[in-house]
């Protein structure tokens, strides 16, 4: 698949949140206002790009040569969690402004299923390092997009007259579902038309 194809696939067609239903916890939890949604979105993008790259290396240089691919899930979780912790430390040390912006969200995504999801997807699709990185990056951007849209919807919902029993999470779930339905418009056929293949 071409690079453009990968970007379009993971931001729109196979959007992690709205098409694959991964990473729903932060999708509901951190979408109450736009500011934190953007912070969380960028933190996830950052981590996903790195995680996709490093899990590719793990798979290629350790798991495959030793024929222990069955340990994939466990080792991926381990390495992603450690990676996030390490990144947090490094960012804190060398870039306080970045830490200020992303810091409080980083610990929240150590075990985000979206991050593990994109790592497994790109490894199982047989991507190379550049493709894996791009898949992670565009999945993160797709996540950011979903979170941003959701937070905009929820900010408007706050001032609407919502029936008592639907206020808060229930109406957010319904809105999220409708949004996912709208995202179904981005399908494989559309992608094929755009990139011609």
């Amino acid at each position: 698949m071409t690079y453009v194809g990968i970007i379009l696939t993971y931001t729109l067609v196979s959007n992690l949140v709205l098409a694959q239903f991964l990473g729903l916890c932060p999708f509901i939890g951190v979408s109450k206002n736009t500011e934190s949604a953007v912070g969380m979105g960028f933190a996830v993008t950052f981590v996903m790009s790195l995680a996709a790259l490093i899990t590719w290396a793990l798979q290629r240089f350790i798991l495959v040569p030793l024929h222990i691919e069955f340990l994939q899930t466990v080792t991926f979780i381990l390495i992603i969690a450690s990676l996030v912790q390490l990144v947090e430390m490094v960012v804190r040390k060398y870039s306080p402004p970045l830490y200020q912006a992303l810091g409080i969200y980083l610990p929240l995504i150590t075990t985000n299923c979206g991050v593990l999801g994109i790592a497994l997807i790109s490894v199982n699709s047989g991507y190379g390092p550049m493709e894996s990185f791009l898949a992670g990056l565009s999945a993160g951007i797709g996540f950011l997009l979903a979170l941003l849209l959701m937070s905009a919807i929820r900010e408007r919902l706050d001032t609407e007259k919502v029936p008592k029993y639907l206020r808060g999470a229930p109406i957010a779930f319904i809105s999220g579902g409708l949004m996912a339905l709208a995202f179904m418009a981005f399908d494989k056929a559309l992608l094929a038309n755009i990139i011609g293949g």
């Binding site: 080792t75 912790q85 804190r92 040390k93």
Partner: protein, 273 residues
């Protein structure tokens, strides 16, 4: 047997891998250790650690850093911490909390209860001041007055604000921790921060012209300047058709007489002197 050794091998290698990563992280945490300010850590211990963000910072740590660095001098921003945290912060930073003129409380600058203030229409939407405000600027004729729907009541972290029976809200100055959340939440600006130990207070927020104010509310300040002119030492300053009492030390005589002379009786006595 072969299967069994495979299980053991997988178990051991994964454990070793995890241990290696753990060890690596431990080394990294040493290497990338950021020298934390002792003061910040001390303040962090005082703050509740909820990272709720009601102080306006990204989390408790952000607030602690701002306090320690002195970029923020307001120690009363932590709502959930309540009076205990406020006191502890004051001690830790050497700021007096209950010192004269330091402690501030919120007070409602509006007397426009039912029957006093005119209502333009019957609002029956979502019970929230902000929501009412977007519908034709609220149901009250006076656009500066308390809408009485209790956005402040809901926002108050220490439950110091309650409803009155006649369509307004009321702050309990004893419970108020002066966090200012209600002031920020109030869409009309009728909630104001004032020193806790004040004696008199101009309970109106209307900047309308005298004629409009009179038509809309019988307890509204019409900006007649009687208080300002006749009692120059009392500290009243009238701007934009609204009298505001300046609480400066050394002035204050004549406030009682000014209250009596006020045609709309919106200068109210707050506590016994």
């Amino acid at each position: 047997m072969n299967e069994f050794t495979r299980i053991i091998a997988a178990f051991l290698s994964t454990s070793a891998f995890a241990a290696l990563l753990g060890f690596g992280l431990a080394v990294a945490s040493r290497k990338f250790k950021v020298e934390k300010d002792k003061k910040v850590e001390e303040l962090m211990a005082i703050l509740p650690g909820l990272n709720c963000g009601s102080c306006g910072y990204a989390g408790c740590e952000g607030y602690a850093e701002a306090l320690a660095a002195g970029t923020d001098g307001n120690i009363s921003k932590c709502g959930p911490g309540g009076p205990e945290a406020l006191e502890a912060l004051g001690t830790a930073l050497g700021v007096s909390v209950d010192g004269a003129g330091v402690r501030k409380v919120a007070r409602l600058a509006c007397l426009g209860c039912d029957g006093v203030a005119v209502r333009d229409f019957q609002y029956s939407g979502y019970i929230d001041c902000e929501a009412a405000k977007v519908h034709f600027d609220g149901d009250k004729g006076c656009k500066y007055g308390c809408l009485g729907l209790g956005s402040c009541v809901k926002s108050c972290p220490v439950e110091a604000i309650g409803y009155t029976s006649d369509g307004l809200v009321e702050v309990d100055p004893e419970k108020c921790i002066g966090c200012g959340i209600c002031v920020a939440v109030c869409p009309t600006g009728a909630m104001k921060m004032v020193p806790a130990d004040i004696d008199w207070f101009v309970a109106c927020n209307s900047k309308d012209k005298a004629k409009d104010t009179k038509a809309l509310c019988s307890a509204g300040c019409i900006g007649c300047r009687i208080c300002e002119r006749k009692f120059p030492n009392a500290g009243f300053i009238v701007t934009d058709n609204l009298s505001v009492l300046e609480y400066t030390d050394g002035v204050g005589e004549g406030r009682e007489a000014a209250s009596a002379a006020c045609p709309s009786k919106c200068i109210i006595k707050v506590k016994d002197i």
